[in-house]
């Protein structure tokens, strides 16, 4: 009797188990995300004002008043336009933030942000995926009037139809002359066996690959698959020979400052700030060329406050506002007129005179024409190319 009862209950359990598996299989098969639609939206007139604005930016990327913990330019914008601004330092990493934007955008819902400041290399992907609102450039006359020509009409966003640069930066080489023993001026020095174990490269694929391509004499925007493979082989050889100490993210600055590295790929703004405590460090745009990159403002698709977003972009291209931001942030300003204003501020505020003059006269923030001529933009890669390059770079750099 007992045995019979046992067999019946096991059979029932098995039945439950089978139906669960069948249900799960059905669930698996119904999953999948449909491809985004490729619509080319026409540029309609600006929508009416709403009085609110949400901005997502990187930390420490806008002017900050240390005492009040506020942002004076944001407050000025709020007063002048009567907009309630929600400014959040919500971006820590481009890819992670892209992940948070992708979720609602793939489902066709708004993201909650009206302006997001994203690295320029991801824009090609965002524009292809139709995640970005097209801009009404006639509502941003200050950009057309005040931005330097180098920042208009990039290859990944023809006519600047979808993005306006926030700040720019230069990728070059930083080095400590005491540890290298000589001046560094070429990308080839990063591959020099004499500096074995003391060279830093970036884990950021585009910076490392583009500098290597420039060393091989290839213009990054016109690089072919074969060129990318050659760059990959060069980087792989560099790693296998033990020349590179590590492929760094943001922390290369620490390694350079405490002597782990003699020379490394570097971003201009970081080195400018490091030079305050480590004045021996040098930054140079290599003779083969460097990279000029921008962090750009975009309006995610479905944003609620498009008129205010345009007003914000226009506001930050006023030379005096651009100067305020650059004074705090210490990256390359896209508005050349801001330099004169910073110099004027240096006279007006004697307490900060030395610091502001150092800013305005630094070729890390206001590169001279010779350096500018050697700067290249990132290539606007197609999805397949982006994947292929990532794959190649990761093969080369990770053991």
């Amino acid at each position: 009797m007992n045995d019979l009862a046992l067999t019946t209950s096991i059979t029932r359990r098995e039945l439950l188990r089978l139906s669960a598996v069948a249900g799960a299989a059905g669930l698996l098969a119904s999953c999948g995300v449909s491809a985004p639609k490729k619509t080319r939206a026409s540029v309609a007139p600006l929508p009416p004002k709403t009085g609110a604005l949400s901005v997502a930016n990187w930390p420490l990327y806008i002017d900050a008043d240390v005492k009040t913990k506020g942002h004076p330019t944001v407050e000025q914008f709020q007063r002048e336009t009567g907009t309630a601004v929600r400014y959040k330092e919500a971006i820590d990493d481009t890819e992670t933030f892209f992940g948070t934007l992708r979720e609602p955008l793939a489902a066709g819902k708004p993201t909650g942000w009206d302006i997001a400041v994203l690295s320029d290399w991801i824009l090609a992907r965002m524009i292809r995926l139709d995640y970005v609102e097209p801009l009404h450039l006639d509502a941003i006359p200050n950009f057309t009037a005040n931005a330097a020509a180098a920042y208009k009409n990039p290859s990944y966003d023809p006519g600047s139809a979808h993005s306006i640069p926030w700040q720019a930066g230069i990728t070059g080489i930083a080095y400590n002359p005491k540890l290298t023993g000589r001046a560094i001026d070429s990308v080839a020095d990063l591959f020099d066996p004499a500096f074995r174990g003391k060279v830093g490269m970036f884990s950021e694929m585009l910076d490392s690959m583009c500098l290597t391509l420039l060393l091989l004499g290839v213009e990054p925007a016109r690089a072919t698959q074969a060129d990318a493979k050659a760059a990959r082989d060069k980087i792989a050889a560099q790693r296998k020979a033990g020349i590179v100490r590590n492929f760094y993210g943001q922390e290369y600055g620490d390694a350079l400052a405490n002597g782990d590295l003699a020379l490394t790929i570097a971003w201009s703004g970081d080195i400018f700030q490091l030079q305050e405590s480590n004045p021996e460090l040098r930054f140079v745009v290599p003779k083969e060329g460097g990279i000029l990159w921008t962090d750009t403002m975009i309006i995610p698709k479905g944003a609620a406050n498009i008129a205010e977003a345009h007003a914000w972009m226009n506001f930050y291209y006023r030379p005096e506002i651009a100067a305020r931001v650059t004074e705090s942030v210490q990256y390359v300003s896209t508005v050349p007129a801001s330099r004169a204003i910073i110099l004027a501020d240096a006279e007006a505020r004697p307490a900060e005179r030395a610091a502001l003059q150092r800013l305005a006269n630094s070729d890390l923030l206001y590169p001279d024409d010779a350096s500018l001529a050697r700067l290249h933009r990132y290539p606007g890669l197609s999805e397949d190319d982006e994947k292929a390059w990532n794959q190649m770079f990761q093969e080369a750099t990770q053991g």
Binding site: A24, L27, L28, A29, S30, C31, G32, V33, S34, A35, P36, D93, E95, T96, G99, R102, R125, R128, L129, G197, M205, R239, V244, R245, N246, F247, E251, D254, N258, G259, D260, E383, K387, N390, Q391, Q394, T397, Q398, G399
Partner: protein, 279 residues
Amino acid sequence: MRRKTPYLLLAPGGAWLAAFYVVPALSMLSVSLQRGSLERGYRFAWRWQTYTEVLGTHHTQFTRSLVYGVFVTALCLAIGYPLAYAIAFRGGRWKNALLFAIILPFFVSFVIRTLSWRFILADQGFVLGPLKSLGLLPHGFHVLGTPAAVIGGLVYNFLPFMVLPLYVSLEKLDHSVLDAAHDLYSNRWSAFRHVTFPLSLPGILAGSLLTFIPAAGDYINASLLGGPNTTMIGNVIQREYLTNTNYPQASALSLILMVAILAMVGLYVRLLGPEELTG
């Protein structure tokens, strides 16, 4: 009626597991069998080749992670067992204070604790710097970027996970059993080997599981303390998901890792004897 009560008691825990483990695992399985890309869209296609492809590309990192996991567990056991033994048997009135001292680092974020190791192991830091200037170490010597740094960081981060279960298991040891062993002419070492150690096996098992499983999948230590040749499978998965947006590949890797760890854990439990699991 009595037979229903256990199921009702299990219901909240079961529901939590179902919602936060079973459903995501099934979703991950589903994503791993899809084909496509971010821009062209994903389609469910029963694509089993993804599994062989990712294993082919990343088997080095995979094996490395499991090997590191084993090393970390062994080292944690070697360091943690004497520590737990000392606190349980010789702690006296300091037991609580010592336990608190072991848990104290957890008040600080995991990432910050690992970053502090970067400071400690810095090439010219306060440990290596003086040794180098005394000439005891060659000038180019560095610990950061080597497997030793990654394993060291992992041992540091997971030591409390080993010590606490061991302590619990040793603490509830009945000392009269030890006295009986001494009465039967065993010396201290023999008593340890035949009485204390076997009775602490549940603690060893729990501690090993709590250490090995997270350590094998860790990516923070490799990312902060490691170099280009110490990449772990956790780093690969993070990169595949975030940088490459290769969602099927990342999901396949996660599932393979889960299955591999389950297999190793199953083997380990078998070796120790299943009755030790419940002690």
